[in-house]
Each structure stands twice: as C-alpha cells, then as structure tokens.
C-alpha cells in the first residue's frame, strides 16, 4: 500500500492516482476489501495469507491422515479402496510438506523477517506476492486431481519408473508433477527474495552476528532452497517429458537407470527436511530465551550449528537409498556423514537446555510447545540415528518405524515449533492474545495425541508392519493383548485426540477474534526488534528505522546492566519505547504500490501447466497471459510515480533507509 507518513499523523493511506501501464491497465488503488488483499505487496498481508492458505491445507492433509488411520484401525478396513489408499497417503505427505509446512514457515518468514532486521518490506515486494499466488495455483493444481480422474498414488517421493506412464497411467502424477513444479518456482523466487532481504536490507548496525536466530535459520533455509530446488525441477521435468512427450529417461527396457530419479529426488529431498525443521528451530530459539528470561545460551554455536546442519545436509541424500544396493563405499560414506549431522543438532539441543537452566521459566503455551519440541524432536532424532547405521536401516526401511521417526521430527519438531510461534507472535500480528487456557488444552491434547499416534508405530515397525500396507487381516493381528491389532487401534485413537487438539487451536483463534483481550505492546517482555513497533505493525513497520547496537536490541533498550548487583535493571518498557519512536517518526516514507501483475502472472503459469496435460491450445493461452503479465510487470514502476520522490519535509527529517523494489 502506498502511503505517505508524516510525524504525528495516523496511518491514513494517501489516495494514489491511477497510473497507465501498457496504455490499458491502471494500477490497483483499493485500500479496503478483498481487492486490497488480492493485489497487495505488503509483506505482512502476504505473510497472513500464506498462513491462512497453509492452515487450510493443514486441515486437508489432516483429514487425509485421519482417513488413513480409520482404514488401519481394525482388521479388514473398508473405508478406502487400495487405490484410494495409495492416493491418500501420497497426497497427505505432499500436502503436509509442500502446502502446509513450507508455506507456514514462509508465513512466519514473510511476516517477521523484515521486522526482525528493521526493514520496511522485503527486497522485491511484487515477487513476494507472485510467490504466494504461485503457491496457491500449485496447491489448486495438485488437489484438482482428486476431481479430475484421481490423485497421484506413488508416495511423496514418486519413484520412477513406478511413476512412469506404464505403471501410473492416470493423470494423477501429471497433476502432481505440475503442481510441484509451480510451487517450486514459488519457493525459488521466495528464497532469492528473502536472501537478498536479509543480506541487503538490515537496519544500520545489525551485523550478521547481531541478527535474531530466527532470521538466521530462515537465511540458511533459503540457501538450501536456492540450491536444492533446481535439482527437483530437473527430476520433475524429466518425468514430465517422459509422461507427456515420450522421452525415455526412466524406461528400463531402453536401459534406463532406475536410480536416476532416486538420486535427483533425494539431492533435493534431504535438504528439504532441513528446510522443514530449521524454521521451527529458529522460532524456539526466540521463544525459549524470552520465557526463560535469559539470553540464548551460546548464540554463535546455535547459529553455526544451524548453518552446518544446512551444509552437511547436502551431503547425506543417499541414506534414503541404503536398500538400493549402492555399494559398500557409498553406504559407508553416507552413513558416517549422516551420523555427523547429529553433532550440530545435539549442540542445539544442549544450547536450548542450557538456556532454560537456571532461568525463571514462564510456562506460557508458547513455552510449552517449545519445550515439547526439544523433547519430542530429541526422541525422533535418536531413532534417526538408528537409521544412519546402514545395517540397522536395512531392517527398518519401508516399515512403520520410519513413519514413526519422521513424524516425531516433523510433527513433534516442526509442527510444535510452528504452534509455539503462533502463540508467541499472535499478539504481534493481530493485537490480541490467544487464550492461554484453551492453549493449554491445545498443547496437552496434541502431546498426548501425537505420542499415542506415532509412539506405537515404532513397535509396529519393528514387528514388521510395512509402510504402505492398506489393509491387514485378523490373522495378521497376532495374539496376546499388546499385539499388532492393539497398537494399530491405539495409533488411530491417538490420531483423533491429536485432531481434537488442533481443533482447540482453531476454536481459540475464533474465540480470540471475537472476544479476545487486547494485547499489550510487549506482552512477553520480548527481546527482538519486531516488538519495537505497534501491534499489529503499521504498513511501514517502523516509524523510525532503528539503529542496532546489540544482539537482542529491543531487550537492551529496556534493560541496563547493573554491575554492582550483577543483574539487569529495567530502564524503560515497551510502551515507552514505541511511543518514543512515534514521536521521532521519519517523514516521507514511500512504500511499494499494489499491483495486478503478480496474481495475473501466477494464473498464467497455472494455465500454461494445464496445457501440458490438456493440449496445445490451452498452453498457448497460458503463454499469452504470462507474456502479457511479464511486460505489464516490467513496464510498471514498483513504486507509484506520483508519490515516489516525495519532497523533503521542512524539518530536514527525511530519510530513505530501506531500499524497496
């Protein structure tokens, strides 16, 4: 939204004169209603939309999971056919990873990254909007397959040749390939955007080692994405060319190598698991110090261990392929590299523990989820180490033991981190506190549900339950009380408890929106820059771009060291600090103007993709839209011209600090 902000005035958006672009299309100028959201380039609105989209897909993926557990609860399940079951677990995983986990991390990154580094927006606001809309288009394409002949059914890693035209003749895999390709472009653009933002747009004084850990982890994740996404792009392109245009890449009868897909997929797929977990590590590295009322223990160790997890994460992909006969040298190398990753991860765990050690712990819901992450992720991490031992892994491959492992790290780790973030930052984003009592229900039901669901899977896996088994007979159930059938029933009951836990979160959100109490500006006595502004923040984020002197700048503005008593003395509170910023507000802040082109371009890309399935005429239409939108985009200045070079105000207070694109 384009506004001119002057000291002392409230945030009234100035009216922007419509501007001709391509001689035909005017700029969007709405500041209210749905149009404002559709054409916005404000990183905060985009962040919220990312969150809403991700939450919607979380529910979709969750329902898919519940159907899977219903099918397996009792012998001879008849909820799903074998075919539908295959589609269900494939789409459950795909949805949760690409349409929930990554976008939800993207929501936090989009919203808080500029705030944490003291910037007014991301480096490329329109590309940011484009990423969001491409993600939405990708999600729609992926899920449209349910209604257009059945979804993909090859598992989330979609091994070729099984996913080739011979064994997967329906269009499901085509939709999957295209949906992921589009979502992949979205992530790639997003990652370039965020890296440039972090590297280039930090507030004065904020060196890399004064950045909040959340920002650091997001930076590492974006580097992982920049260098791993192109590899999955290649894999998807090869598969698409084989399925739609008769290429032979995975045609074993022609001499193709069945491991090609596996290598390409996992070179992307393993960095991807760190893409999923590191944002949550970042979130709890903010939450734990705040609620322990201590600085993070060993900040540089947390930062560098995060970076080294990312780096080593590129060299361990083949541990997903131990059972494929790689040969002893490869297996040994990848096995040892995988064990090595446990070291930086362990360093982080100990840093979090030592952060809490001796602190005045404040058990808010956010803190509970953060502690939950530390415990549950450690359990998942330990079973992970058992996979790194190749002989042991050979026994566990494709059993429920693997399913147990990655749900502990992803649900117990990643999802708990994200929920911790919801409770911690909700007052910042919406200006209202989530209900702590409902939050407690939310947390405990999720802890109990998650352990009941995924804990028994360790036992089931070691008893030999295969990973993609869609049905089991009574005879398979075994004898005695604690048999195969019993644990499957426990897991299914657990999954519903888990779902009720999530439901409590949604109830909490609705209740808070209706009648929640207004949040104070600094409800948690927080430490980082995003709290140095109003809640919710103004469109331009900061009235004055902060000058940073410390790690945890906001904390150090509130507290002063009292060397005599060897303690910290409070010298100001958040309200006072924010009011002081308002009084000294910059004049003539210009922000990027809204634009039609991101959403038009994203739609064009979607149509282009559908053309690959449904024929050349649709492709031509899609291409035309993409071309039209690209030129419209290029010819449109990112900041509306009439407010661009706003004249300096008389008090000489004009500052142009955050470069905006």
């Amino acid at each position: 939204m384009a506004i001119i902000e002057r000291p002392g005035t409230e945030t009234t958006p100035a009216v922007v004169t419509p501007q001709q672009t391509l001689g035909a299309v005017k700029r969007p100028v709405e500041t209210k209603g749905w149009r404002e959201w559709l054409f916005t380039v404000d990183h905060k609105k985009i962040g919220i939309m990312y969150g809403v989209v991700a939450m919607a897909f979380f529910i979709v993926g969750g329902v898919e999971a519940l159907l899977i557990r219903l099918q397996l609860a009792a012998p001879n399940g008849h909820i799903l056919s074998a075919d539908k079951y295959n589609q269900m677990f494939t789409m459950h995983a795909t949805t949760m990873i690409f349409l929930f986990a990554m976008p939800m991390a993207g929501a936090f990154a989009n919203y808080f990254l500029p705030l944490q580094i003291g910037a007014r927006d991301v480096a490329f606001p329109r590309i940011n909007a484009l990423s969001l809309w491409l993600l939405v288009v990708g999600g729609i394409v992926l899920n449209a397959s349910w209604f257009l002949g059945g979804a993909a059914d090859g598992g989330w890693f979609m091994y070729a040749p099984n996913s080739g035209p011979v064994f997967s003749p329906s269009h499901g895999v085509d939709f999957w390939v295209l949906g992921l390709q589009v979502a992949g472009i979205a992530s790639l653009l997003g990652s370039i955007n965020l890296i440039v933002t972090v590297l280039n747009m930090r507030a004065p004084g904020m060196s890399l080692m004064k950045m909040p850990v959340f920002t650091w982890m997001i930076l590492v994740v974006q580097f992982l994405l920049v260098f791993s996404l192109p590899v999955i792009t290649v894999a998807l392109v090869l598969l698409m060319l084989q399925r739609s245009y008769g290429a032979t890449f995975f045609d074993v009868s022609q001499g193709a190598d069945p491991l090609l897909w596996q290598h390409l997929f996992w070179i992307f797929g393993h960095p991807e698991v760190y893409v999923l977990i590191l944002p949550s590590f970042g979130i709890i590295s903010e939450v734990l110090p705040t609620f322990s009322r201590k600085p993070l223990f060993g900040y540089p160790f947390v930062v560098f261990s995060g970076a080294s997890i990312g780096l080593v994460g590129f060299g361990v992909w083949a541990h997903h392929m131990f059972a494929s006969g790689l040969g002893p040298v490869s297996v040994a190398v990848f096995s040892i590299a995988t064990m090595a990753i446990a070291i930086p991860t362990g360093v982080k765990i100990f840093n979090w523990l030592l952060t809490m050690w001796g602190g005045k712990l404040w058990y808010t819901t956010a803190m509970k989820f953060a502690i939950g992450l530390v415990i549950l992720f450690t359990i998942g991490g330990l079973s992970g180490v058992t996979h790194s031992v190749a002989p042991s892994d050979t026994q566990q491959t494709d059993t429920y033991y693997i399913v147990a492992h990655f749900h502990y790290v992803l649900f117990g780790g990643m999802v708990f981190g994200l929920f911790s973030g919801f409770y911690y930052w909700w007052p910042k984003v919406f200006g209202k506190m989530l209900n702590e009592k409902l939050g407690s229900w939310n947390f405990w039901l999720m802890v109990i549900g998650m352990n009941m669901t995924f804990g028994p899977m360790h036992i089931l896996g070691l008893q030999g339950q295969p990973r993609r088994m869609y049905i089991w007979t009574k005879a398979r159930g075994g004898e005695g009380l604690f048999n195969f059938g019993f644990w499957n029933m426990v897991a299914s009951i657990g999954s519903f408890i888990l779902a009720i836990g999530v439901l409590f979160f949604l109830i909490n959100v609705v209740k808070t929106a209706r009648s929640g109490k207004t949040a104070p500006l600094d409800p948690w006595d927080a430490r980082t820059l995003e709290w140095l502004t109003t809640s919710p923040p103004k469109p331009h984020n900061f009235d004055r771009i902060p000058v940073v002197h410390h790690l945890d700048e906001f904390f150090h503005r509130k507290y002063e060291e009292d060397s005599a008593a060897n303690t910290m003395r409070k010298i100001a509170d958040g309200e006072e600090l924010v009011r002081a910023e308002e009084a000294a507000a910059d004049a003539n802040i210009h922000l990027p103007a809204p634009s039609y082109w991101p959403i038009v371009l994203a739609t064009g890309v979607g149509i282009l993709g559908l053309g690959i399935i449904y024929g050349v005429p649709i492709m031509v239409v899609g291409f035309a839209v993409v071309l039209f939108a690209s030129f419209g985009w290029v010819l449109e200045p990112s900041v509306a011209e009439d407010i661009d070079f706003a004249p300096a105000s008389n008090d000489g207070n004009t500052k142009e600090i955050a470069p905006l694109g």
């Binding site: 590899v231 290029v634 661009d644």
Partner: protein, 204 residues
C-alpha cells in the same frame, strides 16, 4: 520469469540507497538466480553423462555429430558475449545509440546460434535420432534444448530491453538492467562451453 522480473523489480538504484552488502538488490538476486541455475544445468548435464553411451536403437552420437558446424555456431555464441560486453560498457557511458547497436548485434548472434540449433536438430531427426529413440536421444535433446530455451529467453530480453529503452519507458537504472541481462547472457555462454565440451568433443 525470474529473469524478466528481477532486473526491473528494484527501484532502489535510482535513489542511491546504501545496501548492507554494497551490491544492489537486483544484482544480488541475479547472482543467486544464476547460482541456482548452475544446479539446474548440473542435473541435466549429469543425466546426459549417465545416458550418453546408451543407444538402444537409432544412431550413435559419433555418427551424427557434425563438429565443424557446431564449432562455428559455438564461436558465434561466444562472440555474442563480446558484443554484450560492448553493450554494457556503452550503457554505462550513457551512450544509448551504441547500447542499442550492440544489443541488436548480440540478439542477432544469439538468434543465429538458435537457427543453427534448429538446423542441427532437424538434421539429426532426419538421420533417425528422435526424442524417443534412445536414452541418448532424450537426454541430448533435453540438455541442448534447455540451453536453447535459455538463449531464446535471452534474445527476447535483449530485444524487449532495446524496445523499452528506445521508448524511454525503462523503470530501473538503465545501465544496471543491461548489465544484469549481460550477466545472464554470459552465464548461458559459459554453460554452452561446458555442454559443447562434454557433449560434442569428448567421445563417448
């Protein structure tokens, strides 16, 4: 898309903002994009190297490659990097006339290379190497085709930039826009050197 987007999205250079790294946002983004592209071509080249000797039917590479012809078209492409440098240097001196001239020459050289590739592909198909003929065929056409698409996108960007400069409608820093397209163009050329060496010169 990224390439059309990145080079004009940022407005900052006109304002003379200081960034934390000293590089402009646009240039940093372009470098990151090219870094990502390295992995893209890395994947495609690896696939080709894995499959180049696997000729279950159809002609063998050594029989159909016309190395003198491809050497000439490679030379044309490499020369276009030189003209691109001249275009960037003219743009930095603010010489619109020369900038346009060198951009045109670069685009023409690029188009010549694409013409050569189209001729080469049609010849190969006539000699029996279809896209589905063998693993070699699929991976050859995919790798060189991807590169061809990159050159074509470059030509479109060159021509569009020229048109936009001529109409005075450019939205960013003119010299920087030309420089960014130059970065992309050189990258595509360097990739071709690798492809030419691995695909054509090293016998399989």
């Amino acid at each position: 898309m990224a390439e059309t987007a990145t080079h004009t999205a940022d407005h900052s250079t006109e304002h003379g903002h200081e960034t934390s790294t000293g590089l402009t946002n646009n240039k940093l983004a372009m470098w990151l994009f090219l870094g990502s592209e390295c992995l893209l071509f890395g994947g495609l080249i690896s696939t080709y190297m894995l499959y180049r000797g696997r000729v279950s039917s159809g002609p063998h590479p050594s029989r159909i490659f016309d190395i003198p012809f491809t050497s000439v078209s490679s030379f044309v492409l490499l020369m276009s990097s030189l003209t691109m440098v001249l275009a960037v240097s003219s743009a930095q001196r603010g010489d619109d006339r020369r900038t346009n001239l060198w951009l045109t020459v670069t685009a023409l050289l690029g188009a010549t290379f694409i013409g050569g590739q189209v001729y080469e592909f049609t010849t190969f198909i006539r000699e029996g190497l279809g896209f589905s003929t063998s693993l070699f065929g699929s991976s050859f056409y995919t790798l060189t085709g991807f590169h061809g698409v990159h050159v074509s996108v470059g030509v479109i960007m060159l021509l569009s930039t020229m048109g936009i400069i001529r109409k005075g409608k450019i939205t960013g820093n003119k010299a920087e826009v030309v420089e960014l397209i130059g970065l992309y163009w050189h990258f595509v050329d360097i990739v071709w050197i690798i492809i030419f060496t691995l695909v054509y010169l090293i016998p399989s």
